[in-house]
């Protein structure tokens, strides 16, 4: 009887306190909004120092033969690539390609089945004071919902032996100073991403590893992120960033690593990766006699209507088309070579590599 009474009273109290907590949190949205941090979040400009050349070599990321098997599925398959310091490297791949698994193996969160992933030649777990060397964002929602952003950062500082005042510095750096004492539950997705960046910058690291940092950011937030990452790379830091936003990556990245079905599909500068896809280029032609032009081109040339009186021609470049038109006496009003963009190159490189394996 007494036990029953005690159980009822405790249950009632827990329920009451839970209700109070809910009502306190009720003024704050639980869901992640996709609005920006807003004009009240300007952020602070970065300092102007540069990583010394001697230190830069310690920021090179080297992945060699990295493999991870889960049950019977090979999530990452003999993957090798290098990420250079002083550059922004985009890490691209379809859903399920193994990007997140690779980044987690790099950070020693996931044990590789085979191969190595090192930073400056050293495994992450063997780094002295890793947070002072490497900053990472793995999940935009990686903070306790009932903890303030400031306390989240202070706990990381405390764990890593960094003065707690550093939390306020990075909050100001990412433009979250005014929201630092609000609980994470009330943060928009954009603010959550900024908090993730703040956490990554706590140790002023030479290497930044960011998994989808632009997810959920509005155009202003995306521009802020782009400027920040470019500035960090310009200081000599290594920036490895995965993303699905191909247009954004084309603007942001210097180098690309593209994977599909756990294997390397392409690596190089953005220009070289796109340049290797020249067979995807096409020529827009405007002529009053498209059929006649198609007949004289012959060979591998394929002519498809562009819909507005023009035609796309593949299998023959602009020079060949111009020469053929001259020989046949066909008037040409417009002749434009259209190179593939990153999206076209990406889709071509990853085509047929099933995302769900």
């Amino acid at each position: 009887m007494v036990v029953l009474l005690a159980a009822v009273v405790i249950g009632g109290l827990v329920w009451l306190l839970w209700l109070v907590r809910r009502s306190r949190g009720g003024t704050r949205p639980d869901h992640a909004r996709t609005d920006s941090a807003g004009p009240g979040f300007p952020g602070r400009p970065l300092g102007g120092k540069r990583v010394s050349p001697a230190l830069m070599s310690q920021g090179r990321i080297d992945v060699r033969g990295l493999t991870k098997e889960y049950g019977g599925v090979t999530a990452v398959d003999d993957l090798s690539f290098t990420v250079e310091p002083g550059r922004v490297t985009g890490f691209l791949g379809p859903n399920g390609a193994g990007k997140t698994t690779t980044l987690r193996m790099l950070l020693d969160l996931v044990e590789p089945t085979a191969g190595t992933a090192t930073i400056g030649g050293v495994r992450y777990a063997d780094l002295d004071q890793p947070i002072r060397r490497v900053g990472a964002i793995l999940e935009a929602g990686a903070a306790h919902k009932d903890r303030t952003g400031r306390n989240h950062l202070r706990i990381v500082c405390q764990s890593a032996g960094i003065p707690l005042a550093r939390a306020d510095e990075v909050l100001e750096l990412v433009g979250l100073a005014v929201a630092g004492n609000r609980t994470f539950r009330g943060y928009s997705l954009g603010m959550r991403q900024r908090l993730g960046v703040a956490a990554a910058l706590l140790g002023d690291p030479q290497v930044l590893i960011l998994d989808e940092p632009a997810n959920g950011l509005d155009p202003e937030g995306i521009r802020w992120m782009r400027d920040l990452l470019r500035a960090l790379a310009a200081q000599g830091r290594t920036v490895l960033v995965s993303s699905h936003l191909l247009g954004e990556m084309e603007q942001l990245a210097d180098d690309l690593v593209i994977i599909a079905a756990g294997r390397l599909a392409a690596q190089g500068t953005v220009a070289s990766v796109i340049g290797s896809m020249t067979y995807l280029s096409r020529t827009l032609v405007r002529t009053p006699e498209p059929e006649k032009l198609a007949a004289v081109l012959g060979g591998d040339a394929v002519v498809t209507p562009a819909g507005d009186g023009g035609a796309y021609i593949t299998g023959a470049d602009a020079v060949a088309i111009g020469d053929a038109a001259l020989r046949a006496g066909v008037a040409i009003h417009q002749l434009v070579t259209q190179l593939p963009d990153l999206e076209a190159a990406f889709l071509e490189l990853t085509a047929g590599k099933a995302a769900i394996r």
Partner: protein, 299 residues
């Protein structure tokens, strides 16, 4: 190390990095900066006050048997027993450990939450990227859970120490709270709170899912008491003597055997047996939690 981002704070950083003491302080910060720990402590305080009140009424009934419920002769014998030095000490000990039987559940659940909230809120990756030596992190969490158990014990004991002397005075009995019987119960109570805090943490580290761990913790605790009727039935069927003391294999029964000033159940083994069994469970769970956390992928 020079800060590239013009940081006054980092310029003053102590570059000795992570130490166990820093990690323990970080764990305390984690507990302090969310509502859960405070919620459990508040509930524990309310529960302890309630338990003290109920226990007081219970002891009053023992000291002053109600007319009609027992015969006058039985009432005299009962009063004489409870007013003997041993009886008075037992009453004082029971008052000083009021609510222990269910109070340790709060320490147990806080231990569970300390580790499972890292997985529920996806902060485990942040924690293990900050400190890749996972065993050090789990050891800090074990120490934090033990300290939280000790804090619950301290709060409960202070409340009991405030309430017990006026109660004894009101019942016209005098007992020294510094006597061995009381001190032994209070100290074993501390061991129980610390053990259950660590038990919860080990369980949470093994299961990782917060919901599963909380359900398992309550099921293990409450289910332990099921061993008493089960072994009674088995004894009636097979008449093996060892079956009478066997319920002590339930962790909560072992805890009760360890802390109880009298026999926790008929034919209960001595307190040290309960203590060894409880500590055995705690050590096994903590070791399993450590080993699994070191080996498992954080995804």
């Amino acid at each position: 190390m020079t800060a590239l981002l013009d940081s006054a704070a980092l310029d003053q950083a102590d570059d000795t990095g992570t130490t166990p003491v820093r990690l323990l302080r970080a764990e305390f910060m984690k507990i302090r900066t969310t509502d859960t720990g405070w919620l459990f402590l508040t509930c524990f305080i309310v529960f302890t006050v309630l338990a003290l009140t109920i226990n007081g009424f219970g002891n009053h009934t023992q000291l002053y048997p109600q007319q009609g419920l027992v015969s006058p002769a039985q009432a005299l014998a009962q009063t004489a027993h409870f007013r003997s030095p041993a009886g008075v000490a037992a009453i004082a000990a029971s008052m000083m450990t009021s609510g222990q039987l269910f109070g340790v559940i709060f320490a147990l659940l806080l231990g569970v939450v300390v580790v499972t909230s890292e997985f529920a809120n996806q902060t485990a990756a942040v924690t293990f990227v900050t400190v890749p030596r996972r065993a050090t992190v789990i050891r800090a969490k074990l120490a934090a859970a033990a300290c939280c158990g000790a804090l619950f014990w301290l709060v409960g004991t202070v409340l009991a120490a405030v309430a017990t002397p006026p109660f004894l005075y009101s019942q016209h009995i005098s007992a020294s709270l510094a006597g061995w019987t009381v001190a032994r119960s209070v100290l074993l109570n501390l061991l129980a709170f610390v053990a259950w805090g660590v038990f919860g943490l080990g369980l949470g580290a093994v299961l990782r899912s917060q919901m599963a761990s909380v359900i398992a913790a309550i099921a293990v605790y409450a289910g332990s008491f099921g061993t008493i009727p089960i072994f009674t039935v088995l004894y009636n069927l097979f008449h093996q003597g060892w079956m009478l003391g066997a319920p002590v294999i339930g962790p909560a029964v072992a805890s009760e055997v360890m802390t109880s000033s009298g026999p926790a159940f008929p034919n209960a083994p001595p307190a040290w047996v309960g203590g060894i069994i409880l500590i055995g469970y705690v050590v096994a769970l903590a070791a399993a939690g450590l080993a699994l956390t070191k080996r498992r992928d954080v995804i």
